[in-house]
């Protein structure tokens, strides 16, 4: 399918989007939804042909967090984003729709502190066991603990 085909299919069949999906660049579609509708949209995208979850990105925008699900069909990548409040960055787990999300969500939790409700195995993935709880290094306001080298 060409990126135009994929876009048309999404517009026609995927429910729960809060904005018109757009072709941002060749083979790159962006879409948006709210946290409560994420699973609906992800299932819809999957049914529309996007059966591969390539990655889940987490971003600290300063005034909010953003979680972006990158799903694809062949070369066409759809980036579905949702905004989460800073105080309670909570979104349902996508593992029921895309099993590979199990590791990507652990990473987003570990480094950015996003909570994935219902995750079957919410253990740290990358930070070692001695890492202090509640310290999320990818957050913009995170500072390394005092003492030691200047953070590069």
């Amino acid at each position: 399918m060409t990126d135009e085909d994929v876009l048309a299919k999404i517009k026609a069949s995927v429910l729960g989007l809060t904005e018109e999906p757009k072709l941002a660049r060749p083979r790159r579609i962006t879409a948006r939804t709210t946290p409560d509708k994420v699973l609906t949209v992800l299932s819809g995208l999957k049914d529309a042909g996007c059966r591969h979850l390539s990655a889940i990105s987490s971003v600290d925008l300063g005034d909010a967090f953003e979680v972006i699900y990158h799903v694809s069909v062949g070369g066409v990548l759809v980036s579905l984003r949702t905004s989460l409040p800073k105080a309670t960055p909570l979104v349902p787990t996508a593992t029921g729709v895309f099993p590979v999300a199990v590791l990507y969500e652990r990473e987003a939790h570990d480094l950015m502190g996003i909570e994935f409700e219902g995750h079957p195995d919410p253990r740290p993935l990358l930070l070692y066991e001695g890492w202090p709880e509640g310290q999320y290094p990818l957050r913009k306001d995170w500072k390394p603990p005092t003492g030691g080298e200047k953070h590069a």
């Binding site: 990358l126 930070l127 070692y128 066991e129 001695g130 890492w131 290094p137 390394p144 080298e149 200047k150 953070h151 590069a152």
Partner: protein, 159 residues
């Protein structure tokens, strides 16, 4: 360079233990190249050993991540004297390009004493062999002096 190694190895037949403290793998594959046909250090008596209890020389790659810090210490403690440590590459020296990153200690000698540093990112196999030869030389010199105590400390050299 291989001839020098052969001379030394015949005297000592060093057993080497490789420890990856969180490296990108570049140093590790260059060390591994040494036992493959082009360099083939095993025929010179240099052996890679699996356990710390039998090793003479510990080669450490990586900048030492927080996760590996304790294990590195433990491996070193398990080695019998006389034991020698080679820190590989820019990472082994000061953490390399990863210096200051939040999950990195930054340099092998922040955790255990180091005898030889081999520079590079990664060092080439011939530079690694050079490093091994230096260690063997050091082992010989130390034996002659009855231990490591005779070696000049860095601050004495600076003065």
């Amino acid at each position: 360079m291989l001839k020098r190694l052969a001379t030394w190895a015949r005297k000592k037949s060093p057993w080497i233990l490789l420890f990856n403290s969180g490296a990108c793998n570049a140093c590790d594959i260059e060390v591994l190249s040494l036992i493959t046909p082009r360099f083939d250090v095993e025929r010179l008596g240099v052996l890679a050993k699996g356990t710390p209890r039998h090793a003479d020389i510990l080669i450490v790659t990586g900048p030492v991540t927080l996760k590996q810090m304790e294990r590195l210490q433990r491996i070193y403690d398990q080695m019998p004297e006389p034991k020698y440590v080679v820190a590989m590459g820019a990472c082994g020296a000061l953490g390399g390009i990863f210096k200051g990153l939040y999950h990195v200690v930054g340099g092998v000698d922040k955790v255990i004493p180091v005898d030889v540093w081999v520079g590079g990112c990664p060092p080439r196999p011939d530079e690694i062999i050079d490093g091994v030869v230096k260690v063997l030389q050091l082992m010989d010199d130390d034996a002659k002096h009855g231990g490591k105590g005779w070696r000049q400390k860095p601050q004495e050299v600076a003065a």
